[in-house]
């Protein structure tokens, strides 16, 4: 009973978060929607006794990845209107149609109760088997899956090095501050003259592209 209530709440929250991600005009609201979805996912993992995965999901995804997203959103600026030209004719209408068909299929599954295709083998033995505590996960991690473990460790190191290489440049900081952001005449008149060069479109301050690194060579 408790599981049903929690599942219903978290499913609603994650779906609401997902819809916010695709519908919000402002990317920061999309990021908040994704955060809601990630939290709901973590609670759903706990419901399925995957405790370690839930904790790692919050630490890595909600704590680190989403912070990185928010940083980049603040860096890039949020108010440029999206280009609504479509590369494939009727792209948006087709996409909405396919999406609604997919969502309709899912709803039909729910309504007809067909998702009992996958039964729950709910014996105490199976609950103990799948209890995802750290101790239970550690043993396969370092015996059966150790190669994948080492490979992902190497992958993380390479990704970090690659990100640093991509994001760093050699020019001094001052010359990279944009002098006059591309602002439409109506917006410029509305803001008046003389906003500092640091304001992006729509008045939200954006960081110069090199914000975050302190001094060259420090």
């Amino acid at each position: 009973m408790v599981e049903l209530i929690v599942f219903a709440l978290m499913a609603a929250a994650s779906l609401a978060g997902g819809v916010t991600v695709i519908r919000a005009r402002n990317p920061v609201y999309s990021a908040m929607g994704l955060l809601a979805t990630l939290f709901s996912m973590a609670v759903l993992y706990v419901l399925q006794l995957a405790h370690f995965v839930a904790a790692v999901q919050v630490i890595v995804y909600a704590g680190a990845v989403m912070t990185l997203f928010l940083f980049v959103i603040m860096l890039i600026g949020v108010d440029k209107d999206e280009n609504t030209a479509e590369t494939i004719p009727h792209q948006r209408r087709l996409a909405m149609a396919i999406g609604l068909i997919a969502i309709g299929l899912g709803t039909a599954l729910v309504a007809r109760g067909r998702f009992s295709w996958v039964p729950l083998v709910d014996t105490p033995a199976s609950a103990a088997e799948t209890n995802g505590t750290v101790q239970a996960l550690a043993e396969p991690m370092f015996t059966d899956w150790v190669l994948a473990f080492e490979a992902t460790a190497l992958l993380l190191t390479v990704a970090a090095a690659g990100a640093i290489a991509l994001a760093s440049t050699r020019k001094p900081i001052i010359s990279r501050v944009p002098s006059s952001p591309a602002v439409s005449p109506s917006r410029r008149a509305e803001r008046g003259v003389g906003g500092s060069g640091q304001e992006g479109r729509g008045g939200h301050p954006v960081l110069p592209p090199a914000a975050g690194d302190t001094r060259a060579g420090s």
């Binding site: 919050v58 630490i59 704590g63 680190a64 912070t67 750290v134 975050g212 302190t214 420090s218």
Partner: protein, 358 residues
């Protein structure tokens, strides 16, 4: 799960909540009195006996102040951010065991909000979430100083989170040699029971001194306390990320900061100083005193760490931002990694023997 169990759970949660709020009120007064004493002045002594109600007076003042909403703020995020600060601060203390488990009527009652078997990871998760309040507050305020303060604060928080995590790994690995591998804080506390040679307690502090030092420095930086408090420094950034906040919202940020200080000190005491372990003189004093004594021991140890926080604030000048980041990345994280490797080598040599001998 019958009614009594549910009542016990609700009681534990309420106990955590009340303990956190009461100690926060007390801590604000204690900090002002301690720093005043170190600076040879008196501190607050008007509101209530010895000024004890000063925090209550401050809280009431902030409660009645107007909550200003500047015109350029992103209103949804602006209102949400203080809550994102307070909620992880409240949840952080839930996994700390604040007393010895006792048995009433056949049920064992844990004096802990929730005994998760991934308790240590929960701590890391909650301190990761505290970052969001800062970054959202700074961005949604719509002006330069909060944005700069927020970016700096976020970078500081995520740098020192790595140091916290690495130092905790060393401690957890060591404590797993004593009592089986466990990430639950109750298990870590229980593995620190007993003494060496009859008088030296078996705290994790003694074998893992370097991890303690790294953890202590990192939690000072993580809670944005002096000398790592550039992000809320009045002289440099007006107010940092909480410049545009006033009234109850500002009070929530201060509340969250002091709750974080208490919770992190309690976690330091639990991981390194033995938690609620301490002599309880069973049989020589009344039973109810023996039952309360572990909680008293934990509070003593926690307040020792908190006193160190206040002392450092009163004594040391503020670090410049690049010095702060340099300490985090170039000193603490390599030190934590080296200590982790040394701990691992020591533990495996003790467990498996030297590599070249059978």
């Amino acid at each position: 799960m019958d009614g009594v169990d549910i009542l016990i759970v609700v009681g534990r949660v309420l106990a955590v909540f009340v303990l956190l709020l009461v100690t926060t009120i007390f801590n604000v007064w204690l900090e002002r009195k301690t720093i005043a004493d170190m600076q040879n002045r008196v501190g607050p002594d008007r509101a209530g006996p010895f000024g004890l109600l000063q925090t209550v007076a401050d809280g009431l003042k902030l409660f009645f102040k107007e909550q200003i909403n500047p015109s350029k703020v992103e209103y949804g995020m602006f209102v949400l951010a203080p809550f994102l600060a307070v909620i992880p601060a409240l949840l952080l203390f839930m996994v700390v065991p604040f007393g010895r488990p006792f048995t009433i009527g056949g049920r064992e009652v844990l004096l802990q909000g929730a005994d998760l078997n991934v308790g240590v990871l929960f701590i890391l998760a909650m301190s990761s979430l505290a970052v969001y309040a800062v970054v959202l507050a700074g961005w949604s305020s719509g002006s330069k100083y909060p944005l700069l303060g927020a970016v700096r604060a976020t970078a500081q928080a995520i740098s020192y989170e790595a140091a916290i995590g690495l130092s905790i790994v060393s401690v957890v690995m060591f404590s797993s040699t004593r009592a089986g591998g466990t990430l639950s804080l109750a298990g870590i506390v229980e593995s620190q029971a007993g003494t060496y040679l009859g008088f030296l307690p078996r705290w994790n502090l003694f074998p893992q001194v370097v991890a303690f030092v790294i953890f202590f420095l990192a939690i000072i930086a993580e809670t944005n306390r002096a000398p790592f408090d550039l992000v809320e420094a009045e002289q440099e950034l007006v107010g940092g990320f909480h410049t545009e906040y006033s009234g109850m919202r500002f009070a929530m940020y201060q509340l969250a900061e002091y709750m974080n200080i208490f919770s992190m000190s309690a976690i330091c005491a639990t991981l390194f100083l033995g938690g609620w372990n301490g002599p309880t003189f069973d049989g020589q004093i009344p039973a109810w005193v023996s039952a309360v004594l572990p909680t008293v021991w934990l509070l003593i140890k926690t307040y020792a760490v908190i006193f160190a926080f206040f002392w450092i604030r009163a004594t040391m000048p503020r670090l410049r931002y690049d010095q702060l980041m340099q300490i985090g990345w170039k000193r603490l994280i390599p030190a934590a990694l080296v200590w982790l490797i040394l701990s691992t080598v020591a533990i495996s040599v003790r467990q498996f023997g030297l590599p070249w001998s059978a």
